[in-house]
Symmetry: C2
Subunit: 234 residues, 2 copies
DNA sequence: GCTTGTGAATAGGTTCACAGCT
DNA sequence: AGCTGTGAACCTATTCACAAGC
């Protein structure tokens, strides 16, 4: 038994091998951030150990992650910052221009629209949409808020290829469906619901309430070793 | 071989067994959300299958997760919504009152301060702090912005037991250190850096740039089946 | 008959430890 | 001597499949 795990017998494997493990992909973004910092500081070599430290993971983990991209390190020395940064950016698809439309111009949507972090990392916010007539037409950051009724033409005109949903739970699914139908298949949702999408759509979720609840779980576990549950206190 | 995995030979196991798997904890928050919705609709029984559907996971997964809390389902019938909701809330530590201080009143911090989702889920935003003199003293939502120089007394006065960091990368570590020293050990960070904290601190990260980059990776993989790598274009 | 609860099987991820190269 | 690259071991998580109970 113990079959060799090769499953794709027709790819000639000229490229560094597609399909990185998901856990690796998310760590690569962290390494990239560190590398770009080092690049700005003029550092040009880095070890797996120090990359590990600034990403908060183990160094073996870093080396294994990087090995999926190929062998770009030098034994006894480390990795060349500029080269590695380029390779990771390439692997992550950051050589494309990504045009992001944000649907929902409530508190969160507006905050995201003004968030400088996107622009600097190759993500261009090209539209901001809302359903509220009071908000439509307002200037937020560099953008004017469009009517979500115009979603499809706006996506097409701006050639958006990613959408961020910053919407209340109730309307998220229907807007999501329209986004998918309009041909945008990469969606980041901040809505506190599970959205259902076809397999070919990339959907990621960020859920603040969930994060706080997870913290609550751990906090409670530490605070209550067995006694006192809700000390009313003075 | 095949040792039984019992590792805590001194706990009498009166409680439903502490230490849930992390993956289970995050899904429990999703089930809880669904259950509270059903509760509001007056539904009183639910199957693992329909819980699974609304959380976007498999039903065996749901049953295994719930089994860590004990056997609260009825075979052939399902789970009693009110009861299960209560059990999960209990397991997650949501019977406590959680008092959250938000540090950073920029776009994101303000959006979080006004985000209604927190209040309704047992998280009370009790303070909002910033370093910018232009912002200190402003009213945002129900709160007046405090000076981050006053962090320690504010945390103490408001008895905050969680902190949300909505800060730029540069200052996040130093504020984080002060928060920990001040005795708050549950931290949710939106800052795009890896923060280092002692082991006893619960730190979670939400990173929007990372999420978009992960989307970019998947999007690029689908869009480029093998050709054109960086087409210089017009 | 229908749905839970759970051991067994499988898949995925991390850590170890060391050979291989500079 | 130092650091990478990687098989092997280990641990965590998901899925399967079915017996147990209503």
């Amino acid at each position: 038994m113990t079959v060799t795990p090769v499953q794709i017998p027709d790819q000639p494997a000229a490229e560094p091998a597609r399909q990185l493990p998901p856990a690796t992909v998310s760590r690569l973004t962290l390494y990239l951030r560190t590398l770009n910092g080092l690049l700005a500081e003029g550092v040009d070599q880095v070890s797996s150990e120090s990359l590990a430290e600034s990403a908060g993971v183990g160094s073996a983990n870093v080396r294994k992650d990087l090995s999926y991209l190929g062998s770009y390190g030098t034994r006894g020395v480390g990795y060349e910052v500029a080269n590695l940064s380029r390779k990771i950016a390439q692997a992550l698809g950051l050589t494309h221009e990504w045009r992001v439309a944000i649907v929902g111009a409530g508190n969160l949507g507006r905050a995201l629209a003004r968030y400088a972090g996107f622009e600097t990392r190759g993500f261009d916010v090209v539209a901001l949409l809302d359903a509220d007539q009071m908000v439509i037409g307002n200037e937020i950051g560099w953008l004017r808020v469009s009517d979500v009724a115009e979603l499809e033409p706006v996506l097409e005109k701006t050639r958006a290829n990613m959408v961020v949903l910053a919407l209340p739970a109730g309307v998220a699914q229907s807007v999501c469906d329209r986004v998918v139908t309009a041909g945008v298949h990469s969606i980041l949702s901040f809505a506190p619901v599970a959205l259902s999408v076809p397999d070919f759509v990339n959907l990621r979720k960020v859920d603040m309430a969930t994060e706080l609840q997870i913290l609550a779980y751990h906090a409670q576990r530490l605070q209550v070793p067995g006694l006192e549950e809700d000390r009313p206190s003075a």
